[in-house]
């Protein structure tokens, strides 16, 4: 990618400490970058550290009991080093995040309108009247009918899909340069999901926002992301451009994820191939590959030294990867 990247995350680790218990490394040496107008995907199952990564970028993790290591650089500024008030200026204006559950991210006792205009008056210095007009316009753009009525309503009066759209409207209010969408459609029905994803695509295409999409749904990633990072137990295990990852998954975990979901467009009758065990069956990265206990390709070399993430274009953390189906296309760089 020749474009200048907007956000660089280098060797990010997040360690949760609790008295009387061993430290938990939720994120363990994660690196990636996003450029303006680019969409990257962080994919993984619950507990793989994808949401903690996003909270670390936004500086939303609690100070006590949490240690954040590594570098997070946004447009030349080191985010973790920023004092709280400076960070607050960036957050909401240049950086925005949309969470999974719109009911817990919206304040239930404050009308929608106030929650959307708050961002506008604070960060863009608009007057109340102007902010109100702008807010109505934002709601209209995210596909909420009758916006001026909706602005007066409270979150409980809106349907789930509409709430999520209102939340996205708030996130978009200042035309952020980086948007993190953490499972933005998981709580929604598929027809509403399609609307929201379309909206995010338009946003990236029109205003050049950099988008980090966090999801467990490989289908969503397939249609949205330029580059996909697959996470397992706090580390990136495979990273590749979208077409390459889906056509030629090399890490047994990626391959296993793809084989375990039924596809609507494939003939039924074939048995699904689940991944053995559960995400609980991991070993710490310090004693080998965390996926080894569940891995069908496990060999002796998997322990006790964890493999590194190798490869520039198609990164892979595995000593015994799946065989490439398409060796001829791999040899020719596109």
């Amino acid at each position: 990618m020749t474009r200048e990247s907007l956000l660089d995350v280098e060797d990010l680790s997040v360690v949760f400490r609790q008295r009387g218990r061993a430290d938990v490394r939720a994120v363990d040496g994660v690196s990636f970058s996003v450029s303006p107008g680019e969409t990257i995907g962080l994919v993984g199952e619950s507990g793989c550290g994808k949401s903690v990564t996003s909270l670390a970028i936004m500086g939303l993790l609690p100070k006590r009991g949490v240690r954040v290591e590594g570098r997070i650089t946004f447009d030349g500024t080191e985010l973790p080093a920023l004092p709280a008030d400076k960070l607050r200026l960036l957050r909401g204006r240049d950086l925005a995040i949309v969470f999974q559950d719109p009911m817990t991210s919206l304040n239930p006792v404050v009308p929608i309108g106030t929650q959307v205009t708050e961002v506008l008056t604070r960060h863009r210095g608009l007057g109340n009247g102007e902010a109100r007009e702008e807010a109505a316009d934002l709601l209209r753009r995210v596909g909420i009918p009758d916006p001026s009525r909706r602005l007066r309503e409270y979150p409980h009066q809106l349907s789930g899909g509409m709430r999520q759209r209102a939340l996205i409207a708030t996130a978009l209010a200042c035309r952020p340069r980086l948007l993190i969408a953490d499972e933005p459609t998981t709580a929604l029905d598929v027809t509403i999901q399609a609307q929201i994803l379309e909206l995010l695509k338009t946003l990236v295409a029109e205003s050049g926002t950099a988008l980090i999409l966090i999801t467990h749904d490989l289908g969503v990633v397939a249609g949205m992301c330029d580059t996909v990072h697959v996470m397992y137990a706090g580390r990136i295990v495979e990273r590749a451009p979208r077409h390459e990852l889906f056509a030629d998954p090399r890490h047994p975990y990626t391959g296993g994820l793809l084989a375990s979901v039924p596809r609507l467009d494939q003939p039924r009758g074939a048995r699904l191939e689940p991944i053995e065990g559960s995400p609980r069956d991991t070993i710490p990265w310090t004693s080998g590959c965390a996926f080894a206990p569940r891995c069908p390709n496990r060999i002796e070399e998997c322990t006790p030294v964890a493999p590194d993430l190798l490869g520039d274009r198609h990164g892979l953390r595995c000593v015994n990867p799946l065989r490439s189906d398409r060796p001829e296309t791999k040899a020719v760089p596109r």
Partner: protein, 377 residues
């Protein structure tokens, strides 16, 4: 594999017609489950002392369906379409407002509480969230032996518990443990073991995998399929994930706002969806393949699901339908009619849509104008 011998089913209503349908066609012979005109309306009350009924939530609004022995019927639809209520009404976990449910020829609605209790052993349920449906203070042994005790199981209970654990792929040592000690997938296995404890004939599975991690879902789907083969179970699978439902079901019913809008054999439904809602729903489901995703045409629905309190007049889907016609749609409610053998659809214009003479509203069909969901004017 252990084939459980179960004296508890000695007085089973399983009669001469117990032969399973291996082809899953479900049309020949008497269906195991037969639902006619089923309605579940919840009253909305207002006032404190004199609670006037000011309206009804029409959660299930006239559903007919048949489920043949040994087959799997999948019920899909979005949240609020009434699919879970329908599943519960079949088991009389909610009392239907109107209509009949016949199980094995017996009218479920007309049973006395005592005979209903005896009937329930043959129809069991698997719930979505195994953590919420298992008592945290009950060990697995206790969870699994409770139905055996309640229904007077004559054999050795703890041997039956081991047998059940083996059937669902849990180690025998699991019996002494408590729900919180298991992972989500294992907990769901416990829920399944409880459901099959009394050798039921019918199992209603309400979102059996949607609370689980992706890599675990396939394990549970495979387990349900294995148990069906081993024990000759009949399933009604209620879920929102059409890809999963299609994988497990022989026949799929698509629900919208309390009613079935389409019913078809699982393979045919994907090959050619007939109802506009099914077409839109299918096109909205992401497929984990970028090549396919780029070629697909997405039909975006505008607006939200109408409230089941006031269902739109005429066709219940006409307010969001991309194929809406100026005549009939807003006035006349379409029946679920058999368009071709095995294919039922509730749309006035299904033939024309299938033939391509009626197209979706131009903007919705044009891949370059996919932002119809976000009116920008």
């Amino acid at each position: 594999m252990s084939t459980p011998t179960d004296p508890a089913v000695a007085d089973s209503p399983k009669t001469a017609s117990a032969g399973a349908f291996p082809d899953g066609s479900g049309v020949s012979g008497e269906p195991l489950l037969s639902v006619r005109g089923l309605k579940v309306h919840f009253p909305i009350r207002k006032g404190v002392l004199l609670q006037r009924v000011i309206g009804h939530v029409r959660a299930v609004d006239g559903v007919d369906l048949d489920v043949g022995r040994g087959m799997t019927y999948g019920l899909v639809g979005e949240s609020g379409c009434g699919k879970s209520t329908l599943g519960k009404a079949v088991l009389r976990l909610v009392e239907p407002t109107a209509g009949t449910v016949r199980f094995n020829g017996a009218d479920v609605g007309g049973q006395s509480p005592e005979s209903m209790r005896r009937l329930r052993r043959h129809m069991q349920m698997i719930f979505q969230d195994p953590l919420a449906s298992l008592n945290p203070r009950q060990s697995v042994e206790s969870v699994l032996s409770e139905p055996l005790r309640t229904h007077g199981f004559a054999g050795n209970r703890s041997r039956r518990v081991r047998e059940l654990l083996d059937l669902v792929g849990l180690p025998a040592g699991a019996a002494a443990r408590y729900p919180h000690e298991f992972s989500g997938g294992q907990r769901q296995r416990v829920g399944i073991a409880r459901a099959i404890a009394l050798n039921p004939e019918l199992i209603i599975a309400d979102e059996p995998v949607s609370a689980l991690d992706v890599s675990i879902q396939a394990q549970i789907v495979n387990l349900l399929e294995d148990l069906q083969d081993q024990l000759g179970l009949t399933y009604v699978v209620v879920a929102h994930d059409l890809a999963v439902v299609r994988h497990v079901s022989d026949v799929i019913g698509v629900m919208y706002l309390g009613a079935l809008v389409e019913e078809a054999p699982s393979d045919e439904l994907y090959a050619q969806p007939l109802h506009p809602y099914t077409i839109a729903l299918m096109s909205a489901i992401p497929i984990p393949d970028p090549e396919v995703e780029e070629r697909r045409r997405r039909i975006l629905l505008t607006g939200d699901l109408p409230s089941p309190v006031d269902v739109p007049p005429g066709c219940r889907f006409h307010t969001r339908c991309p194929f809406r016609q100026p005549t009939r749609c807003a006035e006349e409610s379409p029946d679920l009619r058999e368009m071709r053998p095995g294919r039922k659809v509730a749309c006035h214009w299904a033939e024309e849509i299938a033939a391509g003479t009626i197209r979706a509203a131009a903007s919705a069909h044009d891949p370059t104008a996919t932002e119809v969901g976000t009116p920008s004017s």
